[in-house]
């Protein structure tokens, strides 16, 4: 709750400011704003979300936070929070091909990290099963068996796209990119913020 209040309070003044460098905005906030997992758990609406765990996890994943190390951070500060949020920027009209491509790859990387919970760079069958089970966990009457078999089927399909004959260990990022080829992630994966300039300064 505290985190959320801080978040919302922080976002609105940010969005109202039409221009401002990142230093100005971040300095006063960076110091006193630290978020941990418990804060996220206290957001009420998030309770109903089946992949709640993964979302919260994603906030603390060091790979998403662009840190060199691996594993999970314990706490994040505001700048980290904004870094995560920056994955959800909408596309801008003036982006060229290369920028768009990079943009898309970043978003997909974020997604990939959500699947790949053990940080080994591959989505294995077990991880995929976890994801599907979590997705379907909102429905109490669907058993784990069916969720598992759906995940199996999906894995089969992925295997057939990405290399049908070898022993298939897991989906790598390249395969993941291939699977997403037709889907328009730029328009799906974004949240409409009122003002984008502040987010851009995170880079």
């Amino acid at each position: 709750r505290l985190c959320r209040q801080l978040c919302t309070k922080a976002m609105t003044p940010l969005s109202q400011k039409s221009s401002g460098t990142s230093d100005q905005l971040h300095q006063p906030r960076c110091v006193c704003f630290l978020c941990s997992k418990e804060n996220f758990d206290s957001i009420p609406d998030l309770e109903f979300n089946p992949i709640r765990g993964k979302i919260v996890h994603a906030f603390f994943d060091k790979r998403n936070l662009r840190q060199e190390s691996d594993g999970l951070a314990d706490e994040i500060n505001f700048e980290d929070f904004l870094t995560i949020m920056s994955y959800f920027r909408p596309i801008e009209m003036n982006m060229d091909e290369e920028q768009l491509d990079r943009f898309r790859k970043e978003k997909l990387k974020f997604l990939f990290h959500m699947y790949d919970s053990d940080h080994d760079g591959k989505i294995t069958l077990q991880e995929y099963r976890n994801v599907v089970e979590e997705l379907l966990s909102g429905n109490p009457h669907l058993e784990k068996e069916s969720a598992r078999s759906i995940a199996d089927g999906a894995m089969m399909e992925a295997a057939s796209i990405c290399g049908p004959d070898q022993v298939y260990e897991g989906i790598t990022f390249e395969d993941f990119l291939k699977m997403w080829q037709g889907i328009d992630i730029e328009t799906k994966m974004h949240v409409r913020f009122l003002n984008m300039e502040t987010i851009a300064h995170c880079y």
Binding site: C7, M85, P140, S149, I150, M155, E157, I183, V191, F193
Partner: protein
């Protein structure tokens, strides 16, 4: 070679039958001596026979009484004629690519009109206001509303609403006012058309009927947003133009033009909103009531289609009683009803409803087009170059203007902005059709002395847009290379997109941000908690899964029955392979069925927009699957080792259990087994019984 000659033979056959039909109908027209002008066949007891007149004292072995059957006879002939034309249209492969189907219908109408005119026959007055609004229009509306793809519609709802409502308003007023300006010029001889009449004409002519455009889009598989915009526009546009039309007619009827004060104008606006929103509310209420009714019909499944149709029709009629927009009511009813009714009705009823709806709307549309053709070749025309040319010009100009202006604004709020190409396509797809003609035809002559002028102008616009725009829009879409939709349907994609939905909802929760995902989530929760419990029979949460789940299971049980001969070691087969134990291949049918479980149930309305074509339906996937399974029976022997753990519902597949359609071990399942088996007699069980005979 063979197929080409076959196609030619078919074409020839069709031509022969068509010409025979033409001769037959022409003969029918020429033959009748006395025509009754009244609407219903006026059955006069033939005084000659009753009294024993002096002329006919013999008993006639062979008499002809055409008057009695004239109206149904001719109507049936028209419909049959049009259907044959459609068959021929589709036989000749290149034609559908070249021009939309509406062209053929209009051509047929013109042909029939020419025949009637040539034989100097007074066609039966099949179309007057009440018939059109009570009988011809509802099926078309119902079909549009029922086959609407809900999820894309509601995702783009804001834009669609903005565009339809404001677009219609802008177009109507724009065209009306511009034409009024033109009418003021003395040289054109139009000064007797006052403002109100021009406004009315504007509202009539802005009734867009882009079915032809939709067919082109479907074929070119343009992206979903564009498709939905046009679809949504066609859906709402009918309702809005009719509302405007009625308001203007009411104004015209307030005898003197000078009496209209600003209070009336405001009342008009208020009425617009009341009528629109009231209609929607009405429709939703009726939709819920009918969904509730269908909950109890599992013993009398033969009347289920009847319920659906009657309730929708009732919503239309009730709304019309109160002068609320029946069209919007019916649309809302169909949309609301569809989700719940589909759960409750049996498979056969569902199919019946679909096909019957298409058939009814097809018939209505055909009749309207025939009538349009009849009017074309007739004497009730008044040609005025200025009016007609300016009408055409203003239609095009105002549509383009409204598209670009409105989309400029709405693009600012959209996550997926419409590009210039998209907007160009949208402005070009403003085809007029049956609705504007009907509205023009039904103008009361006493209020509109120059009604013929309006009719002529409307006809010209319709012909122009349907033929010229309809034919060129296909090449235009292909030339502009509009962004295509991604048709690939795979389980992976489903999972990913679903994950994305939840992810987005979660992030937005964290930000305290509201968007339509949240609304959708909340609605779904409410839906599951309350609505589905009331409206769907035997509802466990997400019974939509359980029902299709079982359907899937039947299909898979069939496959298991095939390999039931080879049941040896069921559960030990694959356990030793560790991590890659699942690397053996699942059959394509299984993958297909899993895909269906996902696609049809978990992501409830994930189906792509079905072919929005009044004239055919997408093939039934269940039938396809059943056929696939039958085919695969031949090749199923090598799939012996794949059963067991990889099937959720196929626990140790012993022969005895297969016989009883082993269901997943749920608590209250066994009692429902029987009813479900009966319900699926259509597709699965027949196969199953055949298989189990072995």
């Amino acid at each position: 070679m063979g197929s080409a000659t076959l196609a030619h033979a078919k074409l020839l056959n069709w031509l022969l039958s068509l010409s025979s039909l033409v001769c037959c109908s022409a003969a029918g027209y020429v033959d009748d001596p006395n025509l009754s002008k009244s609407f219903l066949p006026h059955y006069e007891p033939d005084q000659g026979d009753a009294v024993g007149s002096s002329q006919d004292t013999r008993l006639h072995v062979f008499t002809v009484d055409y008057d009695y059957v004239q109206i149904p006879y001719e109507v049936t002939l028209w419909i049959l004629f049009a259907s044959l034309a459609k068959i021929g249209f589709h036989l000749y492969h290149r034609l559908p690519r070249l021009m939309p189907e509406s062209c053929i219908l209009i051509a047929i109408g013109a042909l029939v009109g020419a025949i009637i005119f040539a034989s100097d026959h007074k066609s039966p007055p099949v179309m007057n206001t009440s018939i059109y609004f009570l009988y011809l229009l509802p099926p078309i509306i119902l079909e549009e509303g029922y086959f609407m793809p809900t999820r894309p519609f509601f995702e783009n709802f804001g834009s669609i609403l903005w565009w339809s409502v404001l677009g219609s308003l802008v177009n109507s007023f724009g065209i009306g006012l511009s034409l009024y300006g033109v009418c003021q010029i003395e040289a054109f001889g139009l000064t007797d058309l006052d403002l109100l009449q021009n406004l009315l004409f504007g509202s009539m002519i802005s009734a867009v009927d882009p079915v032809a455009a939709l067919v082109v889009f479907e074929e070119a598989s343009v992206n979903e947003q564009l498709y939905m915009m046009i679809f949504g526009e066609s859906l709402l546009n009918d309702g809005i133009t009719v509302v405007l039309y009625n308001i203007f007619i009411a104004f015209t009827q307030m005898h003197r033009y000078e009496e209209i004060e600003s209070i009336d104008v405001f009342a008009g606006f208020a009425r617009f909103f009341v009528v629109g929103l009231g209609g929607v509310l009405f429709g939703i209420v009726f939709g819920f009531v009918s969904a509730l009714m269908t909950r109890f019909t599992h013993n009398v499944s033969a009347i289920e289609p009847l319920l659906v149709f009657m309730f929708s029709y009732l919503s239309y009629l009730s709304a019309e009683t109160l002068y609320i927009s029946g069209i919007l009511a019916m649309t809302a009813c169909a949309v609301t009803m569809k989700k719940y009714v589909e759960e409750n009705v049996s498979q056969n009823s569902y199919t019946t409803i679909k096909y019957f709806m298409k058939m009814l709307s097809s018939v209505s549309e055909t009749l309207i087009f025939v009538f349009m053709g009849v009017s074309t070749v007739g004497k009730n025309h008044e040609w005025n170059w200025a009016f007609i040319c300016f009408t055409l010009l203003f239609c095009l100009v105002w549509r383009t203007l409204s598209v670009f202006a409105l989309f400029y604004i709405s693009n600012k709020f959209r996550t997926y902005p419409f590009t210039f190409k998209d907007q160009l396509i949208i402005s070009y797809s403003g085809l007029r059709g049956a609705s504007s003609f009907s509205l023009a035809f039904l103008l009361p002559v006493n209020l509109f002395p120059r009604k013929n002028l309006f009719i002529t102008a409307t006809l010209v616009v319709i012909y122009f847009t349907v033929f010229i725009q309809g034919i060129t829009i296909g090449p235009l879409v292909r030339y502009l290379d509009v962004k295509k939709t991604n048709k690939k349907e795979s389980i992976n994609e489903e999972i990913h997109v679903r994950l994305m939905d939840h992810l987005k909802a979660g992030i937005e929760d964290i930000c305290g941000h509201w968007s339509h995902y949240q609304l959708r989530d909340k609605f779904k929760k409410f839906d599951n908690k309350y609505l589905k419990k009331i409206l769907i029979r035997g509802h466990q949460p997400k019974s939509s899964i359980v029902s299709l789940y079982k359907k899937m299971e039947i299909k898979l049980a069939i496959e298991m029955a095939e390999s039931a001969m080879k049941i040896s070691n069921s559960s030990t087969a694959s356990s030793q392979r560790g991590r890659n134990e699942r690397a053996h291949r699942l059959s394509p049918a299984e993958v297909e069925s899993m895909r269906d479980v996902l696609a049809h149930n978990l992501y409830q309305v994930r189906q792509r927009a079905p072919t929005y074509n009044r004239h055919n339906l997408p093939t039934n996937t269940n039938e396809k699957q059943a056929q696939e399974i039958l085919i695969r029976r031949q090749h199923s022997l090598r799939q012996s080792c794949r059963k067991g753990n990889s099937l959720p519902w196929g626990r140790p597949a012993r022969t005895t259990e297969v016989r009883y359609l082993s269901l997943p071990q749920g608590p209250s399942q066994p009692t429902r087994r029987k009813t479900r088996r009966v319900a699926f007699t259509g597709n699965g069980s027949a196969l199953l019984y055949i298989l189990l005979q072995q």
